[in-house]
C-alpha cells in the first residue's frame, strides 16, 4: 500500500471531523451569546441585613446588681416560713433571703413538713397557731392548699396584734409535674384565697403578660411592675420584675391598699383584657404579692427586686407582736381536729 493510499482517507477522516466540530462550535458560540459565561465570583454577593445588626437584635439585659439588706432596728425577730400548705417552692431558691435575714441577726425557721416531725406541730391547727405564737412574722410562699378556718382565725388575731404576714402567690397555671421521662401536665392554683379574702384581696383568675420589650424582662410573662403609691415598701424602688405574676382583685369594700401595679400594656393571658393590674397590696399587717418567683436566687437581683425584697423583709421584722398571740386554746377557734 502506498503512503498516499493511507494519507488520503486519513485526511478525509480528519477533515470531516474538523468540519463538523467547527460547525457545532460556531453554532454554540452564536447560540450561547457571551463566551465562557460569568465566573463564579460574579455571582458571589454577601449580605448583611440591617435588621440583623447587633444593635437591632441584642436584647437589653437587666443588670443583676445590688444586695439585700435587712436592718435590725427593732431588735432581732423570729420569722417562720410556711411549708404546711403544699407550698410550691424550693428552699435552695430562697437562700439569699434567708441569708440576708440571718446576717441581720434574725432567726428563720421552716415549719416541719408533714406530721412526723411534730414537736407541737402537725395537722392540728392548734399546733399551727401554737407555733405561730413563737414567731414575730410569717412568710407564706406559693401555698397550693387552703388554710383551715382556725388557722385563718389565728392569723387574723396575729395580724391584729402586729404580727407580720407576707403572702406570695401565683395565679392558676398549667405546669409539668412528675418529672423524669414521662412528666404530666397538671394545673396548680393559689390555695390561700380564703385567707387573703379575709384581708380584702384575692388572686385573679389569670396570669398576666406583656409583649412590649420595655415592659418585660426577656419573656412575655416576666413583666415589670412599678410602685403605685409611696410607702415603706416602695422606698428606693423604680421597677420590679415579676417572674410569673397574676393580678390581685380587691374584694368588696376592701381596706387593702394597692402598692404596685403591672406595667402599662399588660394584659391577661387567657382573655387578653387590658387594665391596671394590682400586683402588690397591703392591708394593715399583711402584704400580698401576686408572684412568688421574684425572691428566687435567679430573679432577686433583677431590676430593683433586691430593694423591694429588702423592704419586704424590713416589713416582716418590724412588727411588735406580744408573745401570747395567737391564743393556742380552742377559744374562738373551734374544730381543727
Amino acid at each position: 500500500m502506498k503512503p498516499a493510499e493511507i494519507a488520503r482517507p486519513l485526511g478525509v477522516f480528519v477533515i470531516v471531523i474538523v468540519v463538523i466540530l467547527a460547525g457545532s462550535a460556531v453554532l454554540g458560540a452564536v447560540a450561547g451569546g457571551d463566551s465562557g459565561g460569568p465566573t463564579d465570583g460574579q455571582n458571589v454577593q454577601g449580605q448583611s441585613p440591617e435588621q440583623f445588626q447587633p444593635e437591632s437584635v441584642n436584647p437589653d439585659v437587666d443588670p443583676e446588681t445590688g444586695e439585700i439588706s435587712v436592718d435590725a432596728d427593732d431588735g432581732t425577730k423570729k420569722i417562720l416560713i410556711d411549708t404546711q400548705h403544699s407550698n410550691a417552692f424550693d428552699r435552695d431558691d430562697i437562700e439569699p433571703v434567708v441569708e440576708a435575714l440571718a446576717e441581720a441577726g434574725h432567726t428563720v425557721d421552716f415549719t416541719p413538713s408533714g406530721t412526723s416531725d411534730s414537736g407541737g406541730f402537725g395537722s392540728s391547727s392548734g399546733g399551727y397557731n401554737a407555733t405561730l405564737q413563737e414567731y414575730d412574722a410569717l412568710l407564706v410562699i406559693n401555698p397550693t392548699e387552703g388554710f383551715t378556718e382556725s388557722e385563718r382565725a389565728g392569723l387574723q388575731t396575729y395580724t391584729d396584734n402586729d404580727g407580720r404576714v407576707v403572702v406570695l402567690g401565683e395565679p392558676t397555671q398549667t405546669g409539668l409535674s412528675g418529672g423524669g421521662l414521662l412528666p404530666s401536665l397538671s394545673t396548680v392554683s393559689f390555695g390561700a384565697n380564703d385567707l387573703t379574702t379575709q384581708y380584702g384581696a384575692r388572686m385573679g383568675a389569670e396570669a398576666l403578660y406583656n409583649l412590649d420589650d420595655s415592659a418585660n424582662d426577656n419573656g412575655f410573662k416576666s413583666i415589670y411592675a412599678a410602685p403605685e403609691s409611696t410607702s415603706s415598701l416602695s422606698e428606693g424602688v423604680d421597677t420590679i420584675t415579676l417572674e410569673n405574676p397574676g393580678y390581685i382583685v380587691r374584694t368588696g369594700e376592701s381596706d387593702a391598699t394597692v402598692l404596685y401595679t403591672a406595667a402599662d400594656g399588660t394584659k391577661t393571658l387567657e382573655t387578653r383584657r387590658n387594665g391596671t393590674f394590682a400586683t402588690v397590696v397591703r392591708n394593715d399587717n399583711l402584704v400580698f404579692v401576686s408572684d412568688s418567683d421574684f425572691i428566687d436566687q435567679s430573679e432577686v437581683y433583677d431590676a430593683d427586686n433586691e430593694v423591694f425584697v429588702s423592704n419586704l423583709l424590713d416589713f416582716l421584722t418590724s412588727g411588735d407582736k406580744p408573745d401570747d398571740v395567737p391564743e393556742t386554746s380552742t377559744e374562738g377557734t373551734p374544730g381543727g381536729f
Binding site: 477522516f13 470531516v16 466540530l21 455571582n43 409583649l211 435567679s298
Partner: protein
C-alpha cells in the same frame, strides 16, 4: 482494467467507511463542543421558575431550596421566581438561611410566593422578602416566634457539668435566664425581618406581630401578612408581570421538582456536595457526624409540636417565647 476498476471500487468503499466513521465520531463529540461554546448561558426564552418547598425548614430542605434559588439566580433565562411553599418552619438557624437565600434572590429578580398550605414561623421568615404573597383561604401564615426545648435538656446539661472539670463558670452551663436572652435575641432578628419586609403592608404593630399568632389566608390578606387571594398561576402571572425581561405572555414556566423525601433523608444523614463551576458546597446536614455532643438547647422557629412529643407525651415548652 479489471484490476483498476476493482481498485477504484475498493477505494470508494474505503472513503465511504472513513466518512461514516468520521461522522459518527464527530456526532459523539459535537454536543461536548457545542455545550463548551455555549457556556452557562441558556438559549431558551425568558422563564419564570417555580420552586417548591414542602416540609420543614430543616437544614437539608433549606440546603436544597437554597441551591434551587442559586441556580435560578445564575440562569440567565430565568427572569422571576415563584416560591410554592407548604412549611411549618423548623430550626432557627436553617430558617435564617432560607430567609437569606430568598432575600438574595429577591434583590435580583421578582420573587412571588404562593402559600400552598403553611408558611408559618420559619416558613414565613423565609418568604418575608417576597414581592408578593398569594394565599387561599386555608393557607396559614404567621407564628412569628421562637421556641426552645426545655427543660430536660438543661437538666441533662447541668447534670453533665457536675461530671466535668471546666475552665470557667459559664463553660457548658446555660440557665433559664440565658436561654431567655437568646430566645429574645433570635426573636428580635425574626420580628425585625418581618417588620423590615412587611412593615408597610402590615396593619399590626411590631408588638402585635410578636404575639406570634397565626392567620388563615383571608385574615392574612386583611392584616398584611399576605397580599392577594389567588392560585399558583396567579403568582406566576404576577411574577412574570414584574419581571423586566418578560413582555406580556411570552415566557416559559420552568417547574423545578421538589426534593424527594428519600433524598432529604439521605441529605440529612450524610455530607452533600454540590458543585457549580469551581465552587464546591459541602453540607453537613442537621447533625454533625462523628461527634457525640448535641446542643443542650435547640431553638426553633416552628408552628406545631414534634411528632415525638405526641407519641411519647414528652412536652416541649413554649412558655418562655
Amino acid at each position: 482494467m479489471a484490476a483498476s476498476s476493482e481498485s477504484t471500487s475498493a477505494t470508494t468503499v474505503l472513503y465511504v467507511v472513513v466518512v461514516v466513521v468520521a461522522v459518527l465520531v464527530a456526532t459523539v463529540l459535537a454536543p461536548v463542543v457545542y455545550s463548551a461554546t455555549t457556556g452557562s448561558g441558556d438559549s431558551e426564552g425568558p422563564s419564570v421558575a417555580v420552586l417548591t418547598l414542602r416540609g420543614g425548614t430543616s437544614g437539608a430542605n433549606v440546603a436544597a431550596i437554597s441551591e434551587d434559588l442559586r441556580q435560578a439566580r445564575n440562569n440567565d433565562s430565568i427572569e422571576a421566581v415563584v416560591m410554592r411553599i407548604d412549611s411549618p418552619g423548623g430550626a432557627v438557624t436553617s430558617s435564617e438561611e432560607f430567609y437569606l437565600a430568598m432575600n438574595r434572590t429577591a434583590a435580583e429578580m421578582p420573587v412571588v410566593t404562593y402559600v400552598e398550605g403553611y408558611a408559618a414561623s420559619g416558613g414565613y421568615f423565609g418568604i418575608a422578602p417576597s414581592d408578593a404573597i398569594y394565599v387561599k383561604p386555608s393557607s396559614l401564615v404567621g407564628s412569628v416566634g421562637v421556641v426552645a426545648t426545655l427543660p430536660s435538656a438543661l437538666e441533662a446539661q447541668n447534670a453533665q457539668v457536675r461530671n466535668a472539670l471546666r475552665t470557667g463558670p459559664d463553660k457548658q452551663l446555660q440557665t433559664i435566664d440565658s436561654v431567655r436572652e437568646e430566645l429574645e435575641l433570635l426573636q428580635n432578628a425574626f420580628v425585625g425581618t418581618v417588620m423590615e419586609h412587611r412593615g408597610d403592608e402590615l396593619t399590626l404593630s411590631r408588638t402585635e406581630v410578636s404575639s406570634a399568632d397565626t392567620y388563615r389566608g383571608t385574615e392574612a390578606v386583611q392584616n398584611g401578612f399576605a397580599d392577594e387571594i389567588g392560585t399558583l398561576e396567579s403568582a406566576i402571572q404576577r411574577a412574570a408581570s414584574e419581571a423586566d425581561g418578560i413582555e406580556d405572555d411570552s415566557y416559559n414556566v420552568y417547574y423545578k421538582e421538589p426534593p424527594s423525601i428519600t433524598a432529604s433523608i439521605i441529605l440529612a444523614e450524610g455530607d452533600v456536595e454540590s458543585t457549580n463551576g469551581s465552587i464546591v458546597y459541602v453540607d453537613q446536614g442537621d447533625e454533625e457526624a462523628g461527634t457525640d455532643f448535641v446542643p443542650p438547647v435547640r431553638y426553633y422557629a416552628v408552628y406545631g409540636i414534634p411528632e415525638s412529643a405526641v407519641e411519647n407525651e414528652e412536652v416541649v415548652t413554649n412558655e418562655t417565647g
